[in-house]
Amino acid sequence: MEELFAKPEIRKPENIVYKKTNLMIDRPLSYCPGCGHGTTHRMLMEVIEEMGIQENTIGVSPVGCSVLAYDFLDIDMLGAAHGRAPALASAIKRLWPNRFVFTYQGDGDLAAIGTAETIHACNRGENITIIFINNGIYGMTGGQMAPTTLEGMRTATSPYGRDIATMGYPLKITELIAHLPGVNYVTRQAVHTPNHVRKTKKAIRKAFEIQKEKKGLSFIEVVSNCNSGWKLTPVQANKWMEENMFPFYPLGDMKIDGKLV
């Protein structure tokens, strides 16, 4: 198809200022349109590329939407059982102390079935990085209630809205983790606007630098959308996220250099 408004004089290799990193494998992502997983994957890979640590990085993927993360990230990876990624990562880091080790987990994986593994890896101060995508829903299985589902939020298993009396409270696991002494750095970010994406990348870079300096565990929550699960368009979902998720899950650093902010 003929492309209008192309500028051949600008469109030269030496003028490239942004391009998907080659550490993202060149295949279509399995995520829904507008999903924050793809963006977070790319930021993670940009950090690994910029630090030149592809050869020294071992990742652990979860069960959930990002179960296939190892098909997209051009690094060695292990697929964990549901919730167990921090256990795998703890062992890997202890057996390979000079490798960069991270887990990539969703809210069901990290804050429900894997709560014990998460809390204890954090509490031991494992020198790893945990990247936690919180979209308040089980995306992969079709939009069921997650530990982080907001009060009143409708999901496939809370069709009339999350009722606190019968279904319990949404879990602010990141706040809990920030209080554990083994954890060095805790932050909550987002990836729905360019500025948020850039901040998330900086947070990931900081986390990997902390790992390099063997200063303890770093924990990055990314509040993200699940437009399929929320039954909104991607742009509507991002707006809904700003209006509903961010007040309950406020963005920003919670702990820096082992000190609560």
Partner: protein, 360 residues
Amino acid sequence: MGELKLMKGNEAIAEAAIRAGCDGYFGYPITPQSEVMEYLMAQKPFERTGMVVLQAESEVASINMVYGGAGTGKKVMTSSSSPGISLMQEGISYMAGAELPALIVNAVRGGPGLGTIQPSQADYFQAVKGGGHGDYKLIVLAPASVQEMCDHVKLGFDLAFKYRTPVMILSDGAIGQMMEKVVFFDQIPRRTDEELMKECPWAAVGKPKNREHIRITSLDLDPAGQERVNLKLQAKYKTIEENEILYEEIQCKDAEYLFVAFGLSARICQKATDLARAKGIKVGLFRPITLFPFPIQQIAATGNRMKGVLVVEMNAGQMIEDVKLSMGSKVKIEHFGRFGGIIPSPDEVVNALEQKIIGG
């Protein structure tokens, strides 16, 4: 030449692990096998050989730590007892699916449920038929002495890496707790990272520029792909059955009757054999050492020469199913078992032979 020591079975497991060049032990305390981790912590293998020893928050975490370590090619293990092994089935199934080498020790105690802390063999089915979900097998070694506890650690690691499969040592509370002489093999150095990468090109150790990235997983959403995974596993189990069967025959040559027993029950049957022979009953003992692969042909050949076979187990009758499948229906096969943590006496076993087989 090896080193002679007097030691508990569980301690022998731990000492053998250090000497076998084990890279990491991940466990959670449970009676009757807590001595494994206690011994390791006291011995400071992290200073002796650089081995990692970590007390996890649960058996679920332990086995998944083993999964993580195994996926990076490290020589890793865990130990537990029945209720803990039940919790580990998830991770064991994942490791079987992802074809990872690991060593798992089960000091079996009486069940079901929390059961008892006394010895039992009631986890035979769980160990040899897979245990977790999916079509898979573990190589299962059944030590009958503290010496074999030691030897099976080295053998177990060798088999685990030879076939890229989890291996289980099916011990029990008694063999774990009893003290015997044991001759240890000399220290085998832990592999360097370079040696590991050469031996385990499949391991996720970090991706160099010149190779494809490695994905350790048991997931294949394409049914045709998952069937191929299963066919490959089944082919591997067939090779294991063809090559790795271990068993022992005691006083079988002139025997008219046969005990079939593994582990602690075999120890009891050995004494029962002597008692019965003193009474003029010509009985022998067939002891499978590998429970998978099961010595099918060997039991059939020996068992079918007999007038009758008594399968003695500390359970309600589990291995007897495999003995019957091996032998067919030509010869009478009966079961004698005590369970819930009761260890049968040799006299009871002779009695059972007389009543169920000879007089029955």
